[in-house]
Structures are given as structure tokens and as C-alpha cells.
Symmetry: C2
Subunit: 436 residues, 2 copies
């Protein structure tokens, strides 16, 4: 029997009948079906007894359409689409990935979503997150506010590219002084049309978390491990992508995940207390200073690199270890010291984070750190460079210079913790051990 990608077909194999949409990763030997449950299945052609065409691709699928009807008793969740791999298809000729799904198509791909929530799809953009600029954050924040202020929205999911998802999460965390509902950023490491995509599970776990907890605030939902057991809900200001390709690329940094959502049992395990009292109003301060930068230091660097930040209002230095950078011993290092001095004298707020990623800076231990403190460099404490960068840009746009210097080292949105616990390093495995 002939069938095409996108057709809805019924297959009888091994005594069972399977109804689903033919996926683009089907080969000469195997048909891949997207089942109604949202799961994908690969069926070897040798095992197929019969195939029946139920609905041609492109034709309106009555069954799928039905699912979009508002179901009583289900919460309404707004999905804001910004693009990224989640909204991408594989081009099976070139093997390349491009952003092409429309919001409705995406939801249609994962019919199970419509069984656990009424989805309101909102299109914002269709871009990869590595191209986002501050204006995109502001656009997203305003769209979030609109939905959060609407009647009857239980929570918001933002479909987002993974490259800079942690920067966006930090930006929304600071810009929303108060938010009444959960805002969960969800990405995927494999495009949504692939059988192996992590997109449906990440979306479903985010919805289950919204449905089953009273959390409000900004978080990220991604796979906990490379298997499809559970997703983690990760804190918006203390999370980072630390692997280029794995589905468990996002880890909490110097912090615990907020929760684990078990994909099989649909249970939510909270690792942090969720504030029960919700704010009365959503308050958004969507301004970000653009004259801010990040500078990673390295051995043998030149002082000319610092000069590039002349006229900047803020700079986050990603130093080494506890917050050091080359400022002594060699002549060029001493020039770097003078350039930092000039920058600070010009009014630029210079913040020190660490390229170690994990752990806190502590500039009181070694003389280099103390020299930098004396110069006026402000420690980022246990913030990642990415969170410190976004916080600095947000503070500079909303507060006076003296206030900014003070607020940088103060915890505003969970971004600074007094103490990092032993199990907050490479958290996933430690959590597993704790629960073993």
C-alpha cells in the first residue's frame, strides 16, 4: 500500500493495530508512526500484516481537530512560541535543521498535550535563540505579561531555543518583579519531527508541573538524564546549558532543581519549598541596559581586549578560580590592571564571576582578589557569568549607579545563595544517589 509522510494510517502488526501519523524519519525498512498518545513507534515492514489509509496528509484530520476543542475541567496553558529546535524540522535531503513549524502544527504533532490541558498558542517569533538580543527578551516579557494578566490562564510555557535559554530565563526572572503564575521555558535538543525528539516529553512534563503545583515564577524544564524517565524543573537564575548535544544538557548551578517530574507516573517531587502566597499583581520592569558586556580572561591576554569596553556602563569579567585575572607579574598583565582601573574610574561597574562555572567567587583569599576588590571590582558571589550579565544589564536600566553596586551582591530572585550544599555540584547524579 502506498502512503506518504503525514498520512494518518492504521497498521496491523504482531496482532495489534496501531493508528498514527507517518513520520518523516520512516525508511524503506521501517515505518515510524506518531501515535495519538504522543509516543512514536517504529514498525518493521516485515512484521506488517496490513495497512489502511485513514486520512491523507494535508487534509484536515477530523480526529486531531477534535482535540483542539476546549475541554471542561482541564486548565488552560498558554504556549508562547519563539522558535528554536523545538519548532524545527529536519530537512531530510540535506540533514540540516531549520525553524519551520507553526504553533498549531507543533501542538498537532503531540496530540497528548491536548488531553492534559487546553492550549492557547501564541506566536512571538521563529528564531534560533543564539540570535536573540535584549529586544527579544522584552518582546517575550511583554507577551508573558499579557497572558499572565488574562483571565483563566493557569501557566505559561515558552518554547525556546536551548543555546541561550538560560540567559532568557534570567532576563525574565529579573524583569518580573512579581508574577502570579508559573512561566516555564522549554526547549529540545532534537527537532520535534524526529522520533527521538525530547520535545514532547519536555512539554508534557512542564504542563504536568504547572497543573500539579502552586509554583509561580520563572523556571526551565528539560530532561534529567539521557533516558526518558524524568524532567527537572530548574531555577530561572541558577541554571546553565553545559552540554552541546545531550538531552540532559541543562543543570542547576550551585543550587538544587525546583522539582522532578516523573514522565511515567506523572508525579511531581519537589526539592524546594514553593511559596504558597502569590502576588496580587504581575509587575514587569522590562528595561535592560545595552552597554554591558562579558569578558572571559585567559593566560597571556592583551590589555587591548579591555579597551574594547570603553564607554560601557557594566562589564562582567569571567575570571579564573575564586575570581582572579592577570593583573600582576608581567608587564602586559600590569597594563591590564591599569585598563580595569580606567574602566572603573569612567563609571563602569565591573563584576567578577568565575569561568569554573560551579562554586562561588571569593576575592578575600588571595592578594590578586584583594587588589581587584580594592580597585572597586564587585564579586558576583555564586552567580554564573550569564546570570550576572543579565542582572547587571537589568539593574543598570532600573537603578542608580550606587544602588546597582549594592544590589549586585544582594539576592533578589534566588540568584545568590549564602551557602552551596555538597549535593549542589553536578546535581543530577547526586540527586539519584540521595533517592537510591
Amino acid at each position: 500500500m502506498q502512503y506518504k509522510i503525514g498520512d494518518i494510517i492504521e497498521i496491523i502488526a504482531k496482532g495489534t493495530n496501531y493508528i498514527g501519523k507517518v513520520m518523516p524519519n520512516s525508511t524503506k525498512e521501517t515505518v515510524f508512526l506518531k501515535l495519538k498518545s504522543g509516543y512514536n513507534i517504529g514498525i518493521s515492514k516485515d512484521e506488517i500484516k496490513s495497512i489502511r489509509l485513514l486520512n491523507k496528509a494535508g487534509k484536515k484530520d477530523v480526529n486531531v481537530q477534535k482535540k483542539f476543542e476546549h475541554k471542561k475541567g482541564l486548565p488552560t496553558i498558554a504556549i508562547l512560541h519563539t522558535g528554536g529546535t523545538l519548532a524545527s524540522r529536519v530537512d531530510y535531503e540535506t540533514g540540516a535543521v531549520s525553524s519551520r513549524f507553526k504553533p498549531e502544527e507543533l501542538i498537532e504533532l503531540f496530540p497528548e498535550i491536548n488531553e492534559i490541558a487546553n492550549i492557547k498558542s501564541v506566536f512571538i517569533s521563529n528564531m534560533f535563540s543564539d540570535q536573540m538580543v535584549f529586544n527579544d527578551y522584552i518582546k517575550i516579557a511583554k507577551a508573558v505579561l499579557k497572558e499572565a494578566d488574562s483571565e483563566g490562564i493557569k501557566g505559561i510555557i515558552i518554547g525556546h531555543g536551548t543555546d541561550t535559554m538560560h540567559y532568557t530565563a534570567a532576563a525574565l526572572s529579573f524583569m518580573f518583579e512579581h508574577i502570579k503564575i508559573p512561566v516555564i521555558l522549554v526547549g529540545s535538543q532534537r527537532s520535534s519531527d524526529r522520533g527521538s525528539s525530547d520535545a514532547p516529553m519536555n512539554l508534557i512534563c512542564a504542563i504536568e508541573f504547572i497543573n500539579k503545583t502552586s509554583f509561580h515564577g520563572i523556571a526551565i524544564c528539560m530532561h534529567e538524564s539521557h533516558s526518558d524517565d524524568a524532567c527537572l524543573i530548574l531555577p530561572g537564575t541558577k541554571t546553565r546549558k553545559i552540554h552541546t548535544s545531550r538531552r540532559d544538557a541543562f543543570k542547576a548551578i550551585n543550587d538544587k532543581p525546583i522539582a522532578r517530574v516523573n514522565y511515567k507516573t506523572r508525579t511531581v517531587e519537589l526539592f524546594k519549598k514553593v511559596e504558597k502566597e502569590k502576588p496580587i499583581h504581575n509587575i514587569l520592569k522590562p528595561k535592560l541596559e545595552t552597554k554591558v558586556g562579558i569578558l572571559k580572561t585567559y593566560p597571556n591576554m592583551s590589555s587591548s581586549v579591555i579597551k574594547a569596553f570603553k564607554g560601557y556602563k557594566g562589564l562582567v569579567i569571567e575570571g579564573t578560580g575564586l575570581g582572579h585575572m592577570p593583573i600582576a607579574e608581567s608587564n602586559e598583565n600590569k597594563k591590564i590592571f591599569n585598563e580595569i582601573k580606567k574602566l572603573i574610574k569612567s563609571g563602569c561597574i565591573v563584576v567578577m564571576a568565575s569561568q569554573c562555572i560551579f562554586g562561588s567567587v571569593n576575592m578575600n583569599v588571595y592578594s590578586i582578589g584583594r587588589d581587584l576588590l580594592n580597585l572597586g571590582v564587585v564579586p558576583a558571589e555564586d552567580m554564573t557569568a550569564e546570570t550576572a550579565y543579565i542582572k547587571l544589564a537589568w539593574l543598570l536600566a532600573n537603578y542608580k549607579r550606587t544602588q546597582v553596586k549594592e544590589l549586585i551582591t544582594k539576592n533578589l530572585r534566588g540568584e545568590i545563595k549564602d551557602r552551596i550544599l555538597p549535593d549542589e555540584y553536578l546535581t543530577t547524579n547526586d540527586l539519584d544517589q540521595r533517592n537510591a
Copy 2:
């Protein structure tokens, strides 16, 4: 009885007698002794029956001195001292740490070292590694060559600050085209005079590894976990400091550790094959190009940051995800694209690594990656930005431009692997699980 820091005393407490040197972390309530075995012990004053002074501080300690005699049957290991926390003392008035130990003093602190090897102490410098420049790498490399070429040296240990120890390890890895003996970089996260210092265990494990294997090449030896069970021997080109303060701050990136040294049993467990055939000669190519830089990209960055690298021969970009950076969508991003284009046209070799740290770049998946490849950007594959930076500096000083572009993506010293295995992500815990 009166005693001072540095005195050798005998204490009788709980029916046992303890002989050792009074440590600076002793308090009014507790005496901390450095025992002959190298271990530290804290004895509550309530429990002390009697104290006897054996040798005053500053006076030549006959017992300790004896240990420095050449012992037959023990291998000779050269310890090259460059400084860092390992060579540091805590100033108990200010709580600050400074580099102050002389090589002989350091070995004296850990008498056990002299029971497992004859130590040849070589002073190179007394600096913190965050201040090191390429000239320091060359100085260290030449000192390594001198020892490696000497008769009867079984292996070399380099005492080194931890901040940039992975940069130095990469530099030595590339500069030594051949090395006949093991060269192990050892640091510590707590200064050597503190009871809680990780220095003695790291040094002893490095010595045991040299004594008990036929490994030759460059590696790092540091704690495996936060407990004092084992050290890992980590590959010189695939290791990074990923925590600011923990003793298990160093992790293999996209690779396995070379070995585990059990501190209790003194057994060495190899995770990688060690080439039995050793090179006949040590070959050092100690040149490094200085006009090379690292640039971390971030959302909303300005094109002016790229201009700072005008005239550079090489630049490693630490992009996002699989190797992306802002070059499209916004006007400023498009300007960045043009600046990269100019830089490449001027002859600069631009290499793309990922700020994710773990995983490989893959610039064929998304259009942004392909646009950068078309522009002439060279992927760093699964190298860290730090290793790619050192490799680029070394290649540019030793090869022609066209050769450099080719060699960057080729494996020369274990820095590029065809495939990253699932257990090469956050390795420590996975290793534990494997052995459980």
C-alpha cells in the same frame, strides 16, 4: 607546657603517644599535629595527659633531616615548584593566603613523600597560576626537558596553582612532541599548612601513579571526590577546573580519566591503555604565538568587541550550543558577521569552541553554523576553548597557516576524539556507578 607552631612535640592522650609538628591551625582548645606519616591529627586539650618538647621550631630537626637521605630501591622523582596554593601558607592574622613555602619546606611538611620516593626539588617560580603568561609555560617546559633528559629520573611532578593548571597542562602536551617519562601537574585547593589541605594526598597519589605505571606524557592529578578516598589522573588536553573551591574541581571533559589512585590501598586502576613503547628522545617545541585570543560570545554583544582582535593571528570563539554566535536577525548581529569576515580575510584563523564546556561543536546542523563554516570558521570539535586556544597558539608558532587550519581539527595529543561516550559526561559519578 608551652609550645609554638613548628615545634616537634610528643603528646600522650587516650593512652597513646603522638609525635609531630605543631600546625598553625592549632587553637586554644585543640592542638593540631602533623604526624610523621604525613597525616594531621587534632587533639583536644582536655584529653592531653602530658606534652614533651622534642625539637624547637627553626632548629634543624634531625629526624626529618634523615628522611632526605637517598634511599636505595626508591625511584627518584623531580618536583618542579611553580607556586600556587600548594606552595602557600595561611596568614593566621588576616586569614589570607600567600605563596611562601620554599620547595624544601614543602617536602618537609609531608614526610611520607620521602618514604615512597627520593625527591629532587627544583625551584622554578613562586607565583599564582592566574598570573602566568606564555613565557612561564616555556620556562616550565625547559625545566621539564632538563629533568626528563637527566639520568635516573622516573617522573616529574609540577607543583602548580589550580586556576590555570589545565592551560599549562595543554601547553606542555603540545610543546612536548615526545616525552619519555610521566609529567604530572599537581595542585591543591587548600594551602599546604592547613590540616584540611588536599596537597599531601594529591602529591602522594601522583608519586604512586608514577611509581606503579609505565605511563609517559602530561597529566593532572587531583582529588576524585570531596572525600579523601582517591585521586584521578586526568588527561593533559581534556581536563578543566569546573569548581572554584572544591577539592574535586578538576574533571575530564569529553573523555575518561587516565587512572584512579586509591589513597588507602595505594592501588592504581587504569581507565585507558598506556602505550608501553616509549619514545627514544624527548622532543620539545617550546614556541607559542602570542597574537592569539579567546572571545566568549553572548546575547546582545556589540561588534566593537570583535574589533579588539584586529591584527591577531588566531582567535578562539567560545560560542553557544553546537558552535553558534550572533551573526543574523538584528543589525548589530549582522555587523558582527562582517567583523568576523574581515578578521578571517586578514589572515586570522578563527576557531569555534562551545561555552557549554561538555560535548562537541557541530556546525553542520543549523544554518548559522553552516554560514560560519562557509566564512572559514574552523570547528574546535570536542576540544575545550582552553585547549583549542593553547593548540592554536602552538600551531601558529610552529606551522604554516594552511597547515594550522588542517591540524586544528586533527587529533595530535588526545585532544580530539571521534566519539564521546555516554559515561564521559560528569565523569566522576558515572565512574562510581560503574564500579558499584
